[in-house]
Subunit: 338 residues, 2 copies
DNA sequence: GTGAAAGCGCTAACAC
DNA sequence: GTGTTAGCGCTTTCAC
């Protein structure tokens, strides 16, 4: 049978209040009494019941993280750093995976915000802010991660999308590229929109032709980059920018299989998944855009904790910057595809 | 102010019992009454409080998954399939990351089993069964995943470790390898122990020299494979077996950087992370051992749900088999490192 | 320095 | 077909 706080109180010969205050350090208890309480606790093997406690206090010590794709290294790494941050503050992490499906996201927000977690971290796959907003109970702590909305009602932690893409185009143009293709993620996402508009602006600024057929969209999952790549190659691109790590890896593989050499036959710039093996092989043949995933996760964790403590805190927006890693130094160990 | 079940009851002009039974479909309610209840619910915007509910019923509808490394593709993919399975049954998933640290694991087991979750999935990093066992409250639903203990007290879902390694050695020996090195994971893990003993047995059976210095152990994280590889190369290995996907990827990269060609200068067999880019590049130059990660996650999810429903169910052990993918067919598009 | 007791929101006997 | 009510295990106010 389950041992409760009153069993402990009885055995220790004190009141339940005293037991509670002892284990929570929440008011003065004489050391002799403490002693008795702890003795009773270990004798009975008592563990306070977390769900009774959170029911009573209203605090769950848990935050939810709604992610579009757990198995994607970018999010997996972020989950890891969020978890580290939360664990350090005695919080737990509940994961929900939407697979970039808006209905699944809606469902998850509903479920999690109904008393399961104290706050929600969301890398939303929605495009409709109204719909998203209507799902969040008034005053419920929410922090948007990686992806945001035009309406700045919720705090967010994102990564600069404009700068690295603008720079990519300029660098490629500077090297003489004439037809730069780009593979974006889902068109509805803020990240994709920012990146594509950076591309468009840079293309215009560099005096390159503005050609809609050079812009392709994948879904950041499955095998979608493959089709995009084929279409861009048909358009006779001499350079390609890939807006997402998984698709960048795919692109490399397919270029390789077709015998198209990076940095010689075609120039490539890609967002790169932190410490994913494939990029280490090609770091000297392509430009990499490395997002500060860990920092992102950490900041997200800190922000949601702050908001849980003070739900009235004013909206906070943080934009981190990526590292742009051009390839120009020839490595000591030679060129993998020579 | 929070709206509760009695607000709804009051507005609908019924009892709280009726409201409860209506939303839970737990006894007959006339359709007119139902109507009134639902109207009141939507008028007030009522949502049942999950923590009150789980406090009352004792069911949290949540399972915990204690993982050694979230960012590792193997576990990330498994988390994804576990989550899919659980979500389909209305359950949530709490993640805890141990980073292969036994104290963190202990802490997490304590925290999660104290009323936070209905059951626990554990890919344990512990070697001491006594210690592990002492942390699990009597009768608490637990399923071991990927890694197990000698004492078969808990149900487990694992992957056959012996067979693919034994076969690797035989194949390598058959191709004429004389000095086969092996890079294992943490020596204390059941997976590592099974793989190493398969190696040792096969080496003996094939009549190859049994040399302790051909066995190296990494930690399956960071950069540990690098050191192991260097040591094996110093031992003049003509073939290497790597027991874990992350380390396999690292091995490929370092061999590549040193200009050592797979399948020509050295033979490689490795456990491979499902759909990780780097292996697609080398699938024609090395043997791959592919573990059924998704199946593993699914089975784990099903098992823990079953155990939660019936904690008295007898111990269940499932061993899945990996796919062994030899390289022998020359690909249409040629050899990447030719 | 400690105790008594109310009550968090819900479910489920039990009663009619 | 529906209502009354006890009580899950804990925290916390009020009292001494």
């Amino acid at each position: 049978m389950k041992v409760t706080i009153s069993d402990v109180a009885k055995l220790a010969g004190v009141s339940t209040a005293t037991v509670s205050h002892t284990i929570n350090n929440t008011r003065y208890v004489s050391s002799e009494t403490k002693e008795k309480v702890y003795r009773a606790i270990s004798e009975l093997g008592y563990t306070p019941d977390a769900s009774a406690r959170s029911f009573r206090t209203g605090k769950k010590k848990t935050v939810g993280f709604i992610v579009p794709d757990i198995a994607n290294k970018f999010f997996a790494t972020m989950i890891e750093s969020v978890e580290t941050c939360l664990a350090a503050h005695g919080y737990h992490l509940i994961i929900a995976n939407t697979k970039e499906d808006m209905d699944r996201e809606e469902n998850n927000i509903r479920l999690l915000s109904a008393g399961l977690v104290d706050g929600l971290l969301i890398a939303s796959t929605m495009d409709d802010f109204q719909r998203f907003d209507s799902l969040i109970p008034a005053g419920f702590p929410v922090v948007l991660v990686d992806r945001t909305f035009d309406v700045k009602k919720y705090s967010s932690i994102c990564v600069s999308n404009f700068r690295p893409i603008y720079r990519s185009v300029c660098r490629l143009a500077g090297k003489g590229a004439k037809r730069i293709g780009i593979i974006g993620g889902l068109p509805r996402l803020s990240t994709t929109r920012e990146r594509i508009s950076a591309y468009q602006q840079a293309v215009a600024d560099c005096g390159l032709p503005e050609d809609e057929s050079l812009i392709r969209y994948g879904n950041s999952m499955e095998d979608s980059a493959h089709t995009c790549l084929n279409e861009l190659l048909q358009q006779k691109c001499d350079a390609i920018i890939v807006c997402q790590g998984l698709m960048g890896g795919e692109t490399i593989i397919h270029l390789h299989k077709r015998g198209i050499r990076l940095g010689r036959d075609i120039d490539l710039v890609s967002f790169v998944d932190y410490d994913s093996g494939i990029y280490q092989l090609y770091e000297n043949q392509m430009d990499s855009i490395i997002q500060p995933v860990e920092e992102l996760g950490l900041a997200a964790g800190e922000q949601i904790l702050r908001r849980i403590e003070d739900p009235e805190a004013r909206v906070f927006e943080k934009v981190l910057t990526s590292t742009y890693k051009p390839y120009n130094v020839a490595p000591a160990w030679g060129n993998p595809d020579r």
